[in-house]
């Protein structure tokens, strides 16, 4: 009797289990593993720490479950150099068996590991801006929901020429690829709309003092600066110290006046214009949640580095949902990521182009003092901006990648 009863009980349980099977299976499937390549030591750590905070904020909001799949994050510190990035990519892929990589931070890091990612066929959601990874040598395993180097400065070039009516501009940017690409994009659009870039200045990345460069700015009616990290602070302070603030307007790229830097700036930043893909005053539901959570947990105003990783997290969630939790097929996962079209993200609605780069809004902002605090106030939104701006993609990639000398500046003085 007892035996029979047990058998019946077991059978009953089995039936119950099989009915509940789909959800049980999904909750018990191996966790989805995310490898975050970030920088926690050295000079680039500022952005790297923000990246980690952004992803942590998203996962906390979701209780570490994305579309029914439990998520594990493996955080790897690349040290902010190409060799470290390559090593850590290998580590998270081969040892930790991650399903996807988020990051890295810097363009030269991305360039160091793009071939490895291609060879291992691991989907990667990039924050780094290196243009050609989604242009002339498109990596099919990369999507970039942030922006290429030139994507925002195309917009700044357009705005500077058409709305600010600037005629003669000096550009100043660190002497490395991210700077070259930003300035190239600015110059192209600005000059096609009637402006002239009369001076291009390239301070080395770790110049202690920008005064010798600012001294050469000369006779212009505007400045475009593409500084990153802590350099915008040094630049704007020296600019104000030399009495140029308020006389010659400053425009900048997305790193130059990132919202996360606002607490470090003083009055010298007031009036500076910037073009960016993320602005903390953006009015979407997810952005309000994100800004509130970042303020609560870390006491910061989030900038594009942390927002970029929050958005990357949203991409992962949407792709898992699309595949109904079945993420083992890497090709399918990559296709799902590329086909995403999200509406409620901190940067607004966006989708991806055929190369895996984002098509989304870019915001023009002016830095102002409101109630004692500095804010970047959005004054114009350019909708659905592509990495190719308004150019034909096929024509665009036939030309050389933006560099120190391309497009050629014909109006230098």
């Amino acid at each position: 009797m007892t035996v029979e009863r047990r058998t019946i009980l077991k059978a009953g349980l089995a039936t119950a289990a099989s009915v509940a099977m789909p959800t049980v299976l999904r909750a018990q499937a191996a966790p989805f593993r995310i490898g975050l390549l970030t920088v926690k030591t050295g000079p680039l750590a500022q952005g790297g720490i923000q990246m980690e905070q952004g992803l942590a904020t998203f996962l906390k909001e979701k209780n570490n479950i994305l579309a029914g799949r439990k998520v594990e994050v493996i955080v790897a510190d690349t040290g902010g150099n190409p060799a470290g990035a390559r090593t850590k990519a290998q580590e998270v892929v081969e040892r930790d068996k991650v399903n996807i990589i988020l990051g890295p931070l810097a363009a030269f890091e991305l360039l160091a590991l793009t071939d490895y990612v291609r060879q291992q066929q691991i989907p990667l959601i990039s924050l780094a801006a290196a243009e050609d990874v989604t242009q002339r040598s498109t990596n099919p395993w990369v999507i970039r929901p942030s922006a290429t180097s030139g994507q925002c400065s195309h917009v700044m070039g357009d705005y500077a020429a058409k709305e600010m009516k600037l005629k003669r501009v000096a550009t100043i940017c660190e002497d490395f690829a991210f700077g070259h690409e930003q300035v190239g994009a600015f110059l192209r659009v600005f000059e096609e709309n009637g402006g002239k870039v009369v001076k291009k200045l390239w301070p080395p990345l770790n110049a202690p003092d920008f005064t010798p460069f600012i001294a050469q700015i000369g006779n212009v009616d505007g400045v475009f600066m593409g500084f990153a990290g802590s350099n915008p602070l040094k630049f704007l302070r020296a600019y104000a110290d030399l009495g140029l603030k308020g006389q010659i307007p400053v425009t900048g790229g997305w790193t130059a006046l990132d919202d996360a830097l606002l607490k470090s700036f003083g009055d010298e930043a007031v009036g500076a214009m910037s073009a960016t893909f993320y602005t903390s005053d953006h009015n979407t539901e997810s952005n309000k949640r994100f800004v509130a959570a970042m303020a609560k947990d870390y006491d910061v105003i989030p900038g594009a580095y942390s927002a970029g990783m929050y958005i990357a997290g949203q991409c992962v969630e949407a792709a898992i949902a699309k595949l109904d939790g079945k993420t083992d097929d890497k090709q399918a996962l990559m296709a799902a990521l590329k086909g995403l079209s999200l509406t409620d993200t901190p940067r607004g609605a966006f989708s991806f182009d055929q190369n895996g780069n984002v098509v989304g809004d870019v915001f023009i902002r002016r830095c102002e003092r409101q109630g004692g605090k500095l804010v970047n106030k959005t004054i114009k939104t350019y909708e659905k901006v592509s990495q190719f701006w308004t150019y034909d993609p096929a024509e665009f990639v036939k030309q050389p990648v933006y560099s120190r000398d391309y497009p050629p500046a014909k109006n230098l003085q």
Partner: protein, 286 residues
């Protein structure tokens, strides 16, 4: 014209800051033969401490002096507890100071996070002067004055006091100084503390226009190295001359040959190393 006068004044200003940074480095290297690779860390740590005090509303000069005092303590501890044990082992000293500089960099990252801090220019030195067709910030001029004052103070200390005489004796010939009854080991501590304090003071002075950020240490250390190699280790006048040469080369080099900025900065160092390895004003070691 205005550009050139602006660059000239700015050269002196940067030179002044470099002197504050490298005077201590030069003394430490000259006396103790320690290539102190933590010197940039002293600069950065001082700048961070100063910035924290300024954020709490303390007076700028108090912040600068307090940061220097803190670095006297830290420098003293490092010298007494660690470097002392490695006397005469240059490789070990290089590794120790390099290692400590990484430790300090990561501690700073933990304490102050990665966000850059840029303290305001002290109110009484804000604004600028308009002259010779240019506009120049008063604060930068003040740095020149302070550097000159400190150079004079150090000169009096080294050339006119008993302590200075002992330091000079130690630089020239440490074993002989020891034989003469000078407690060279105490001198070492004193000089190391002075050097660390000067670096911290320079850090606070520089923070309103350099800003304070992770990596500041690595940006400043090579500049101190070039200055000392140019001027000659152990020579204060050498550090002063070297600082102003580097200030001039940096400013005019960046303006005239921006593509060769670093070549211009390091080329004189290479020439000096080839033609006059002891530095412009250094003495040949016997």
């Amino acid at each position: 014209m205005a550009v050139w006068s602006l660059l000239a004044v700015n050269s002196l200003s940067l030179g002044g800051l470099l002197f504050l940074l490298s005077a201590g480095f030069s003394l430490i290297f000259g006396l103790m033969r320690i290539p102190n690779l933590m010197h940039g860390s002293f600069f950065m740590l001082g700048a961070y401490l100063g910035a924290s005090l300024l954020q709490r509303g303390y007076n700028f000069w108090f912040a600068a002096l307090a940061a220097s005092a803190a670095m006297v303590v830290i420098g003293g501890l490092v010298e007494r507890l660690l470097l002392r044990r490695l006397a005469g082992q240059e490789l070990a000293q290089v590794l120790l100071t390099l290692g400590l500089s990484f430790v300090i960099a990561d501690l700073c990252l933990m304490i102050w996070t990665g966000d850059p801090i840029q303290p305001a220019t002290p109110a009484q030195l804000g604004g600028g002067v308009r002259t010779l067709g240019m506009f120049f910030p008063i604060y930068r001029l003040a740095i020149i004055g302070i550097a000159v004052a400190i150079a004079l103070g150090l000169w009096v200390l080294i050339d006119w006091t008993r302590l200075g005489a002992m330091i000079r004796a130690g630089v020239d010939d440490a074993p002989m100084a020891r034989v003469m009854g000078i407690q060279v080991s105490r001198l070492f501590t004193a000089v190391f503390c002075i050097g660390a304090a000067l670096a911290a003071f320079a850090g606070v002075m520089g923070s309103p226009f350099l800003s304070v950020y992770p990596g500041l240490d690595a940006d400043m250390l090579p500049l101190a190295l070039i200055v000392v190699i140019l001027g000659g280790a152990g020579s204060l006048l050498g550090a002063l001359v070297g600082s102003f040469i580097i200030g001039l080369l940096y400013n005019f080099g960046q303006a005239m040959f921006p593509d060769l900025a670093y070549v211009i900065l390091f080329l004189p160092m290479v020439l000096v190393l080839i033609l006059r390895p002891q530095g412009l004003l250094g003495r040949v070691q016997t």
